[in-house]
Symmetry: C4
Subunit: 276 residues, 4 copies
Amino acid sequence: MKPLICVEDFQVAAYEKLSRDALDYYRGGSGDEETLSANEDEFKKLRILPRFLRDVSNISLDTEIFGDKVSCPIGVSPSAMHKLAHPRGELATAQGINRVGSLMTLSTLSTSSIEEVASECPRLIKWFQLYIFKDRNESLKLVKRAEQAGFKALVLTVDAPQFAVRRKDLRNNFQIPAGFLANFDHKSARAIQNLEYIDAGITWKDLTWLTSVTNMPVLVKGLLTAEDCLMAIEHGAKGIIVSNHGGRQLDSAPATVSRSEMKIPIKKLDPLTSLS
Amino acid sequence: MKPLICVEDFQVAAYEKLSRDALDYYRGGSGDEETLSANEDEFKKLRILPRFLRDVSNISLDTEIFGDKVSCPIGVSPSAMHKLAHPRGELATAQGINRVGSLMTLSTLSTSSIEEVASECPRLIKWFQLYIFKDRNESLKLVKRAEQAGFKALVLTVDAPQFAVRRKDLRNNFQIPAGFLANFDHKSARAIQNLEYIDAGITWKDLTWLTSVTNMPVLVKGLLTAEDCLMAIEHGAKGIIVSNHGGRQLDSAPATVSRSEMKIPIKKLDPLTSLS
Amino acid sequence: MKPLICVEDFQVAAYEKLSRDALDYYRGGSGDEETLSANEDEFKKLRILPRFLRDVSNISLDTEIFGDKVSCPIGVSPSAMHKLAHPRGELATAQGINRVGSLMTLSTLSTSSIEEVASECPRLIKWFQLYIFKDRNESLKLVKRAEQAGFKALVLTVDAPQFAVRRKDLRNNFQIPAGFLANFDHKSARAIQNLEYIDAGITWKDLTWLTSVTNMPVLVKGLLTAEDCLMAIEHGAKGIIVSNHGGRQLDSAPATVSRSEMKIPIKKLDPLTSLS
Amino acid sequence: MKPLICVEDFQVAAYEKLSRDALDYYRGGSGDEETLSANEDEFKKLRILPRFLRDVSNISLDTEIFGDKVSCPIGVSPSAMHKLAHPRGELATAQGINRVGSLMTLSTLSTSSIEEVASECPRLIKWFQLYIFKDRNESLKLVKRAEQAGFKALVLTVDAPQFAVRRKDLRNNFQIPAGFLANFDHKSARAIQNLEYIDAGITWKDLTWLTSVTNMPVLVKGLLTAEDCLMAIEHGAKGIIVSNHGGRQLDSAPATVSRSEMKIPIKKLDPLTSLS
């Protein structure tokens, strides 16, 4: 195997190891994948203006978020079903993140459970990603389990009231393997597979409700307009994750890194506002 | 055959089924096909800014146009000679549109007649596309037949006083098969084939005339400037179809979706103004 | 041979017929050929905004220039040595232009002489392209011969005080064949071949001089800035040919069709100002 | 071998002659090589607006810098280890530059020593490129040797407090050959190879210090913002070399030729400000 020097090397290596189903699930975007490719293209167009003759003999990327120290201002976003890639699933991911001292966001659709990840890496800063289900008690149970397991924040995904059409998955007739979702019993898992659980009717009031039932700070993930960011903060969010769901939900949404549509001054936003 | 998941899949399937003549007639644009490709390229550059945490548990694309209910705000534009693709021609098209509840615009150059389409799909919302001929009575006869057959609007095409050079058709020496045009008797059909019928001398007054001889609302198809849109409304049009004829008439015309040249405020325009 | 439907068809046919030397001489630009390709790329980006419902039953491109009627507002620019392509050289070109009723500009470096072209096509509107030589009398002789032969205007090329490096010609070690230049005797032709004739020291005063020694209107060819256009008119030019010498002189000059650098209002310019 | 007519010809010839290690060392950039390719792409987009009918019969590119006459306003930037390409290393480079009358900047990491180059080409205008080492005396020794050898200016490189990751070198496991660096004894050379020498803690004060210990003018190389250019001049620099280190240091830095980020009026800058 080629030495793994850059992200692309890992990508190439993964292409050799993964099953077609898993590969397409991970790399595929929605629709024509215009937003998927815009994410990368726009990112490459960013230019950094370096300043020089500063003393850089001692440099550190350490930072703090919600009172927790992390080794760099980059955390790991939630993504589903790591066992598609490796039998140890999110436990392996947690180990890796733990080693570099960053933070991990565990997906609701993880294949290692909340409790397993907590027990594997008790000191790792862990956040939990949540959908609001039609049955609010189901959501509440997950919140309480995350709290119990020492997770430090909730990440509410709001850009998937309906799941988008991802053509690669359709062509593969991709199905979530039975028993794969570790945070649910058999019955709930099947409902989730059929997308019967997620509530397409949630509104800003549900965000307020969520902040009222937990002591964890709540971040809203998936916003793409300044207007929605302000509304999130008004309704109790402690942070925002700007995201187009990796180009996997609304195709034709702007690239995550594009700031052209953020029409309100960034300083109006909470400094915790982050980018993913 | 591959499953038909997206528009491109249909395109690939069509490439396998169609004769070279038909394929080139349908896919070819005029001149260097700069406008043809700009139509698609500019469309892909559009970005949608989604807002979230709205209740989307009950959504509907139903809308109303000229008092008729349609299942979505997208209708089918006129295109000529569907029998090049399938022996049932426009009857098959009408059936498909009927099934999804949208509206159909039948071309003057159709290969199923006004009356055949009306009898096949009596409940389908149907519009009729018209050229103004040198012999106004010939045009008037078509208008009356459309009215009689229950068509709901007229679409006057104004961007083809001369037909553009489409090189693919020239290379194929493409000819309209004898007896193909279903709305005309043998003699008229031959005149149309030779482009002797269409009047290159029509002006805005002819639009006013057309609106005076029918109770159907008249839409003007093919406008690309705000100035022309305003003139159309002044001369009695009830709607506008912004179009560059699918890149098949004036090559170097702007992409249909490009609004950069629409220099007057869109709110000055009738809300029926649509895009095709 | 494929039917010749568009410019590209002629280009492909020429590639098959021409010698490598001739092909490269005609198609090559200077330097990296950035300006050569910009000429075509920028041209394709132009968009025409059509207006409709005008009476176009009788249309004509006829126009008049310097009192002469031509069939369209497009004339043929000077280009050197047509006998590289065909043994009848500029006589064949003149015949073709004569047939469509446009106008021809004969190059100083033509391979059919002033008098031959005049005698072949006496009614064709002919202009003569001129360089100013170190020996002004040599230039004057050409002017008088053109006048005598019924040419209607002079086109003074000003963008080639030094000839640019065209790499294709260098690689081919391209040489003008002996006796090829029809407007010169053997001795002068050799001097021109060695580029000893053209005066790199000419200034605006030489333009004024040229206008004083002929009754023909003088156009200046090769200007790319509004400032130079205004100076040309002040010094007696009756017309301007905006040109970057077909991308064959200064590589990195703007595309001919690009107007971004023309910073003075176009209405300040003489309406004869044209584009080539 | 093909005749060497343009830069690309030399590049192709070099590809045939160089070892893979050397080739990759010379052509490789840092990271994704976005800045490396932007350097060339942006340069090609520059447009020159030529003015005509000026007397250009006597033209000269001669100019003067720091009181020295050079044959053109283009000098040769420092680059490391020419012996990777040819056994005569920087001596051969010096000879070539000497022949055209331009100026040479010798790299600290040269494979021919300060004294060797000076003795080979005593009349060539030579500048010396410097890093500031943790041990200031080591730097000072180089400064004095350059002064002694008749070098005319110092070029302080400030954009490499840490060396960037160049993936091609990593993949080749590229190592500086032992004994290759001609300006250092064995021990120092090894320290430099291990990057133990260069001081990541230098600040603007060190620039002031450097200007105080030499009579040679000091240029600062590697600045990319107007703000840093002004600071350089305030701290004693006599010239600035705008550079992103050939796309070999911070990937995502703007193209060298891009002026979009230079937000202060260029006239505030010393006229010696140059571009490389």
